[in-house]
């Protein structure tokens, strides 16, 4: 132990130790010299004798030094120093290698840190592995998620034993009436257990109590998010106990959540007790489903156990309430899958791509190292002659590789930091707000491991080469001109590998580009260009701020008046009110029935999405009317019985007729809802999502009711839609300054959000493919140049014997073309094999797409050019010069 510590200490005062040793030996020599002089030798004679007597000072010093050192560490540091020295000497090589490795390692680290920020443990809640979402599902042709109804939720909660707790959670909007201007904020209605399940403590006050969530309250309570509290209330610590108005209701603030917590929706500004989410009738209706349940498994309970328990409960409920619960089940889904699930396949595919880029970078650097080891053959031979064994040489070469990759990794981590930040900032995909990829211990370990592995991989090729080259031959100058067959094969293999990896990436990028192209070319059934959308909500009563907390009766102003005002804005050609904006994720499904329909059950009961519109919605959105007509002004009343349906409704029930004049009603056929008469049939649209609606349910259009208070406007413009935003806002304000206007965005933005993930993957894949292509081309160029220069003499002889430049060109290019061809074949085969990794990311394309051929063609051409340039140089060889070469 003691000797170990002494040695350890010695490590840190190496220089001093070295000097002491020198001094000590010098003293010894001096003493001996003095003795000899005393015995009668001359000064010179004495010095010589003393030295002779002393023997090899260096080896003695080495032995003495060895006493103080840890042998492996010391040789390692020697190797590292040596590597650094050689790398410093060949600066050009080092820069190229480090840049290539930094690109490879940096981008791998960047994607890895993104992946690691969407793993289960990255959820900012304790026991994240036990947090689940429960979905009430309909077992239709395609299982369809609907969420829970309050009675279902209370039954699940009271009858199950698998869970620590359950909380209902419904997102909604509310208008905060405090201050000068009403502001629309995102809120969540949650059970009192919600904050506890997510492990959230309050920074001020307390969460809800069970009592506050037991029945609807006259004056309810609210918890504010940190952001709203700071922004609107200046972080007022006395906010607790204050009363705030949200819409028509008063709420007492009981708590302020911790900074960073924005609820499960990741956007909530405030929370209300779930009991405030609807009327007692709504809450008691087992059939009105729409919210998600958060639950935490008891420790040790598996998802499968919880699922089977809930299956049993569902069957029990089905027997007890056949009307509402027939064919209904519950799905237990881990929270991390719900939150991150959509991001993971894309990131996995990107990770694979980036590893390919790294491999190409390694192949490149390996090639460079190989060329250098060729040049260093004599050095290596000398070292071997001086007794360095093959293992020692391999260690030296691997150390060199690791030094290179470490430098690459350091630069790479810096690159990754910046790249990730840039990526998150510009990503069309929105990552959850708590995602904050940064270099932590995990990432650092990953990068270190990665660079060591790469370093070893890099050392292998030159090491194999070193083993092959024969000592005696290497020492003779004559052998320098020719390259060993085996090392040529090694180079060839590296070129083939680079080409095939680049092909896979290019094909992948091509497919993503095609997918995005197809997605953008997709016609959703309505126009998406030159449409501006916005939402507004009409305040209650005449003057909203002066309104006493009594019973407000109706909207202060008519939404139609707002619409008319918007129509007068220059540049607006058409405008229409609608209850929910296409592709904005609003609105919900309703059951309906058609007169004379065959009997149905829960699985076949017709469902549709209802939109309330004004007359010119179809003309504004350019949705084709296939038969009948749109509404007329006289039908714009609450008692109107006119309905417009989309084609699927007509073709389902009246396949041989247009459907115009037929009758449908909302709810079941036996309900006492009024019959509506179909006045028009319009084209199907992708109203809810691109590239396809989640379910095939059709759309029903009903006249817009002027008494509704929240609505959207679709505005068709002759100028770029975003340029009209100020004018439109001003128009709304001129009707009533207290009308909150929000979600103002061009329809094209909504379309872009639908294709965000594909575009995100496309961009990154494209960048990686470009990097791969560049690296591969540089690699091919390097190898081909080297091979040509190796054959300069042979080419000179051929030229001298009368070969034409064309023949030489064919010879040199042919060589490379063979390698490129092999790489392309392997790459294409690999692309087809790897295709299923990305199928979930693709839309309407397979690897057999024309873009794959284009990718191969691009690579082939670029690679051949990379061969052609060195080959062209070969034809310019002067035979005389070439023969004298070397």
């Amino acid at each position: 132990m003691i000797p170990f510590l002494r040695r350890l200490a010695a490590l840190f005062r190496r220089r001093r130790l070295e000097r002491d040793l020198d001094d000590e030996l010098a003293f010894h020599l001096a003493m001996r010299e003095q003795d000899y002089q005393r015995d009668g030798s001359s000064a010179d004679e004495a010095r010589r004798r003393a030295r002779r007597q002393f023997g090899n000072v260096t080896s003695l010093k080495e032995q003495a030094r060895d006493m103080w050192t840890f042998h492996p560490i010391e040789t390692l540091s020697q190797d590292v120093r040596y590597a650094l020295r050689t790398l410093r000497k060949s600066r050009g090589f080092t820069i190229v290698a480090v840049v290539a490795l930094a690109i490879g390692i940096g981008s791998t680290t960047a994607i890895f840190s993104l992946m690691s920020s969407v793993r289960q443990q990255a959820l900012p809640y304790p026991h994240a592995d036990r947090l689940m979402q429960l979905w009430g599902n309909v077992m239709r042709a395609k299982v369809e998620r609907r969420g829970a109804s309050y009675p279902d939720f209370t039954d699940w909660r009271s009858q199950s034993t698998s869970f620590d707790g359950m909380a209902a959670d419904q997102d909604a909007n509310a208008i905060l009436m405090s201050g000068d201007e009403p502001e629309r904020i995102a809120v969540e209605y949650v059970s009192s257990s919600y904050f506890g399940l997510l492990g959230q403590e309050m920074q001020l006050g307390r969460p809800f109590t069970a009592d506050e969530d037991a029945v609807p309250q006259k004056v309810a309570v609210t918890v504010l998010a940190d952001g709203l509290w700071r922004r609107r209330f200046g972080s007022d610590p006395a906010i607790i106990g204050k009363e705030l108005r949200f819409g028509a209701r008063a709420y007492t603030v009981v708590g302020v959540a911790r900074a960073g917590f924005k609820g499960m929706t990741d956007s909530a500004d405030a929370w209300f007790p779930f009991m405030m989410s609807g009327s007692p009738d709504d809450l008691a209706s087992r059939g009105s489903r729409g919210f998600v349940v958060l639950a935490r498994l008891k420790p040790g309970v598996t998802i499968a156990q919880a699922q089977s328990e809930l299956d049993t409960i569902s069957r029990r409920l089905e027997r007890a309430y056949p009307n509402t619960n027939a064919k209904r089940g519950v799905e237990v889904s881990p929270l991390d899958v719900e939150v991150f699930g959509a991001l993971r396949p894309a990131l996995a595919a990107l990770m694979a791509s980036v590893v390919f880029v790294l491999l190409i970078a390694c192949a490149n650097v390996s090639n460079l190292l190989l060329a250098r080891s060729e040049a260093r053959q004599r050095e290596i031979a000398v070292r071997t002659a001086l007794g360095a064994g093959w293992p020692r040489l391999v260690r030296q070469l691997v150390t060199e590789g690791c030094v290179l990759t470490s430098v690459g990794a350091i630069v790479g981590i810096a690159v990754a930091q910046g790249a990730v930040r840039l990526l998150l900032a510009t990503s069309p995909v929105s990552f959850p707000s708590f995602v904050n990829p940064h270099v932590d211990v995990r990432i650092a370990l990953f990068t270190i491991a990665l660079s060591l592995v790469c370093g070893i991989v890099l050392g292998i090729a030159p090491a194999i080469h070193a083993r092959v080259s024969r000592l005696a031959e290497a020492l003779k100058d004559a052998s320098r001109g020719s390259d060993g067959r085996r090392s040529q094969r090694l180079r060839g293999a590296l070129v083939v590998a680079e080409v095939s990896l680049a092909v896979v990436l290019l094909v992948g990028a091509g497919l993503m580009i095609r997918s995005v192209q197809k997605l953008s070319a997709l016609h959703p059934g309505f126009v998406t260009d030159s449409i501006l959308t916005l939402r507004f909500s009409v305040p209650l009563g005449n003057t909203p701020n002066a309104q006493p907390a009594g019973a407000p009766t109706g909207p202060a102003v008519s939404a139609r008046a707002v619409l008319e005002k918007i129509r007068t804005v220059p540049g607006v050609t058409a405008a229409s009110l609608v209850s929910d904006v296409p592709l904005a994720g609003e609105g919900g499904a309703t059951f309906y029935s058609a007169e004379g329909q065959p009997s149905t059950d829960a699985q076949t009961m017709p469902r549709a999405y209802v939109h309330r519109i004004t007359l010119d919605f179809f003309s504004t959105m350019q949705i084709p009317i296939t038969s009948g007509r749109s509404f007329v002004e006289s039908e714009m009343t609450a008692t109107s019985t006119a309905v417009v349906v989309s084609e699927h409704v007509a073709s389902r029930f009246w396949p041989n007729e247009t459907g115009v004049g037929k009758r449908i009603k909302l709810g079941s056929i036996t309900s006492n809802a009024p019959w509506y008469v179909i006045v028009g049939v319009v084209g199907e649209t992708k109203y809810r999502a691109l590239p396809e609606n989640p379910t095939a349910d059709p759309d029903l259009y009903l006249p817009h009711l002027d008494r509704s208070r929240q609505m959207a406007v679709m505005i068709r413009t002759t100028v770029p839609p975003s340029s009209l935003v100020p004018a439109v806002r001003a128009a709304v304000r001129s009707v009533d300054a207290s009308i909150p206007v929000f979600n103002v965005q061009p329809m094209s933005d909504l379309v872009a959000q639908q294709t965000a993930q594909s575009r995100f993957t496309m961009w990154l894949m494209g960048v990686f493919a470009a990097a791969a292509l560049t690296l591969a081309v540089v690699g091919i160029y390097g190898v081909m140049s080297y091979l040509v220069s190796q054959r300069t003499r042979e080419i000179g002889i051929r030229l001298a014997l009368g070969a034409s430049g064309r023949e030489i060109l064919r010879l040199a290019v042919g060589n490379g073309a063979k390698l490129i061809g092999a790489g392309v074949v392997i790459g294409v085969a690999a692309s087809f094999a790897l295709q299923r990794l990305v199928t979930s990311l693709l839309f309407g394309v397979t690897a057999a797409d024309a873009s794959s051929a284009a990718a191969v063609a691009i690579l082939g051409v670029v690679a051949l050019v990379a061969c052609y340039i060195p080959a062209l140089r070969a034809t310019r060889v002067d035979p005389l010069h070439a023969l004298r070469y070397e």
């Binding site: 001096a30 003495a64 006493m67």
Partner: protein
């Protein structure tokens, strides 16, 4: 000019230093003289041995000024070194006695 018996150098150094602090050169001289020029300590063996003993904590080294006014590294025994010397002495006595007995037959 005799060869050093393997393994005995450490013991001889420890013994020599039991008389007080000495530098490397004087240690070598002392052993040589005390053995009537029979044992001769090679520099190539002496210094690695000194450093080895120092690392093991049997010797302590200090820089001092020699008789002829030069900076020299002086070695002294540590208590641990003294104990080690006792062990070595005992072991040597046993082995040497045994060898002598065998040779006397």
């Amino acid at each position: 000019m005799g060869e050093m018996l393997p393994g005995t150098l450490d013991m001889l150094i420890l013994k020599t230093l039991s008389r007080g602090a000495m530098h490397g050169y004087s240690i070598a001289q002392f052993i040589q003289q005390a053995s009537d020029e029979v044992l001769r300590v090679e520099e190539g063996a002496l210094y690695p041995a000194l450093h080895r003993l120092e690392v093991r904590g049997l010797l302590k080294a200090e820089w001092g000024i020699s008789d002829n006014n030069r900076r020299a590294k002086y070695y002294t025994l540590t208590p641990h070194g003294r104990r080690e010397l006792d062990h070595e002495r005992e072991y040597w006595a046993r082995v040497a006695g045994a060898v002598t007995r065998v040779m006397a037959t």
